[in-house]
């Protein structure tokens, strides 16, 4: 087993009855990496993540998470991972009580008070969990996921429903955890989030991985061509090219200076993502 890998998946298959949810996934996540799993609803993101978390069994394939098979791993392994789950309600316990309770499950937990401060709930430690706002509750979820000092943290759509400021703060928190060496696997529907946080992203569609790479390079050159647009005498022109600089130089020479209505755009991660999952349909 390659010890530099936090997650190693080969030929992962999962069927629900006659429906194939995962159709041969290969995936490697290095230790210390922030990895984002993207894909439309029903593409198999949650199934993949839950197999890696040990919540779900699989039909076929080799899976190693921190060197162990999640389907067989025990408490010692659970102590090394952190899972951030969203609940639809909470007990009548305070933030401090819950974080301390979860700290008690782990052999070498972080200090609960520090964790509460780290997620930005320091002033609310005495507040009952069900009285927190949605964003605050999500921070509590994260606190419970990281209090055990996990080597690998799973985050499933962590910022859904956040306002922009809360989202930025949350991203800072994730960056801090990553800087401390925590490997992070997150799923998200929000492309700027993947761009902001992930070292690499993977796009899952129809139970297969259709692309894996750095956010800026996803989809390869073909999907990454720049689009140059300008106002010609006979209307607006657009040209896709890998060499936008020379196109602009040519146009500048042609117009003898300013190019009217010049735009140069590169496809965003979202454009590339939509191209990728569109091609699957």
């Amino acid at each position: 087993m390659d010890n530099s890998l936090a997650v190693s998946v080969r030929g992962l298959r999962k069927r629900y009855g006659s429906v194939t949810a995962l159709d041969g996934i290969d995936l490697e996540i290095a230790r210390g990496e922030v990895f984002a799993l993207l894909g439309p609803n029903g593409a198999g993101k949650t199934t993949t993540v839950e197999i890696l978390e040990g919540f779900r069994d699989r039909n076929d394939g080799a899976v190693a998470v921190l060197g162990e098979d999640p389907a067989k791993a025990g408490r010692r392994w659970r102590a090394r991972i952190g899972i951030v789950l969203q609940l639809s309600g909470e007990a009548e316990l305070t933030v401090a009580e819950m974080v301390s309770q979860f700290a008690g499950f782990y052999p070498a937990p972080r200090d609960p008070a520090q964790v509460i401060e780290l997620v930005g709930l320091a002033g609310l430690a005495g507040r009952r969990a069900h009285q927190l706002s949605g964003g605050q509750r999500r921070r509590l979820d994260v606190a419970l996921g990281i209090v055990g000092r996990p080597e690998l943290l799973f985050l499933d759509e962590p910022t859904t429903g956040f306002d922009p400021e809360a989202r930025r703060k949350f991203w800072d928190l994730i960056r801090r955890l990553a800087a401390e060496g925590t490997t992070i696997l997150l799923t998200t529907h929000y492309m700027p989030e993947a761009e902001a946080l992930a070292d690499r992203v993977a796009v899952l569609a129809g139970g297969r991985l259709v692309a894996v790479g750095e956010p800026a390079a996803l989809g390869g050159q073909a999907l990454r061509e720049a689009q140059v647009g300008w106002e010609a005498a006979d209307g607006r022109k657009e040209l896709r090219t890998r060499t936008p600089t020379s196109v602009v130089a040519e146009l500048a020479a042609q117009f003898g200076g300013e190019i009217p209505g010049l735009t140069i755009t590169r496809p965003s991660l979202e454009d590339v993502y939509l191209d990728l999952i569109g091609a699957q349909r």
Binding site: A91, L93, Q101, F105, P107, G181
Partner: protein
């Protein structure tokens, strides 16, 4: 921090700090279960006030009637209501609360941690024992104050009270845990759990004196723990001559213990086989 986690992941397994044990974790979970329970006012009122209100109501309506053997109906109701109260806090409340925890994802979240599964159940057992003891004390106080109930005077009766309480509570708790997996959602749980319990209370001598229950319903009641619990408690709290009111003209302690132990064994198997940490919607 980075250096620390690096060292930790590189260390051989034997050097790692020990995982917290089930008992210690379970005890601290039990403490929080109790704290959370008593903060939930609605549940507290429902669990503790309902049997008292019913006892006072039934006692006020029928309490002054005396049975053929000079036993006050108030005494009969108090003994039965204590059995019902134990069932309400163990079977009904435990079943409903676990179903709700499963539905909102608390159980799944716990399962994702290295918490020993036994710790969760130890925590629940602590909650049930605290609640049932409190329930019994409250109902005893009401019974003694208003319905001529007397605390047992002999060691034998205290011993009967102790084992009927313990076996009854354990049996009802296991059945509560088992039935919590049955409803597909917490909203259905009320129907799946509350309804059968209500019926059992009527036919097992809680709301209606057992001797007034038609024989065919008595046969059904005999299959479940509640009838035996209330019969055992009647043997503790009613005068010896009240045995004449029992259908079998005997307190049947041996049979009571056997039925409760059988339910404990069956309930344990059922729990181990059917307990789910995830809601059914969660696939």
């Amino acid at each position: 921090m980075t250096a620390h986690s690096m060292q930790r992941s590189a260390a051989p397994v034997s050097d790692l700090p020990a995982l917290p044990g089930a008992w210690r974790t379970g005890l601290s979970m039990g403490r929080l279960e109790v704290v959370a329970f008593f903060r939930e006012r609605q549940a507290v009122v429902f669990i503790f006030a309902l049997p008292v209100v019913l006892l006072v109501l039934l006692g006020s309506i029928f309490g002054n009637q005396a049975t053929a053997h000079g036993i006050s109906v108030g005494q009969v109701f108090t003994a039965g209501m204590i059995a019902g109260g134990i069932g309400a806090t163990s079977f009904q409340n435990l079943g409903l609360s676990i179903a709700a925890e499963r539905e909102r994802g608390s159980l799944k979240r716990l399962r994702g941690t290295p918490m020993p599964p036994a710790a969760y159940f130890i925590g629940k057992i602590i909650l049930v024992f605290v609640c049932t003891v409190a329930e019994v004390l409250v109902l005893l106080a009401v019974g003694i104050a208003f319905y001529h109930l007397h605390l047992p005077t002999s060691a034998a009766k205290w011993w009967t009270l102790a084992w009927v309480y313990a076996l009854g509570t354990i049996a009802c708790s296991l059945l509560g845990i088992a039935i919590s997996s049955l409803p597909r959602s917490a909203t259905n749980a009320t129907a799946v759990i509350t309804l059968p319990f209500l019926v059992l209370q009527f036919i097992s001598g809680v709301f209606v004196p057992y001797s007034d229950v038609p024989p065919w319903l008595q046969h059904i009641a005999s299959l479940f723990p509640l009838k035996w619990m209330s019969q055992g408690l009647r043997s503790v709290f009613l005068p010896a001559r009240a045995v004449a009111l029992e259908p079998g003209h005997a307190w049947q302690h041996g049979q009571t213990a056997v039925v409760l132990l059988a339910w404990i064994a069956g309930g344990l198997v059922l729990c181990l086989r059917t307990f789910r940490w995830r809601s059914s919607r969660d696939g």
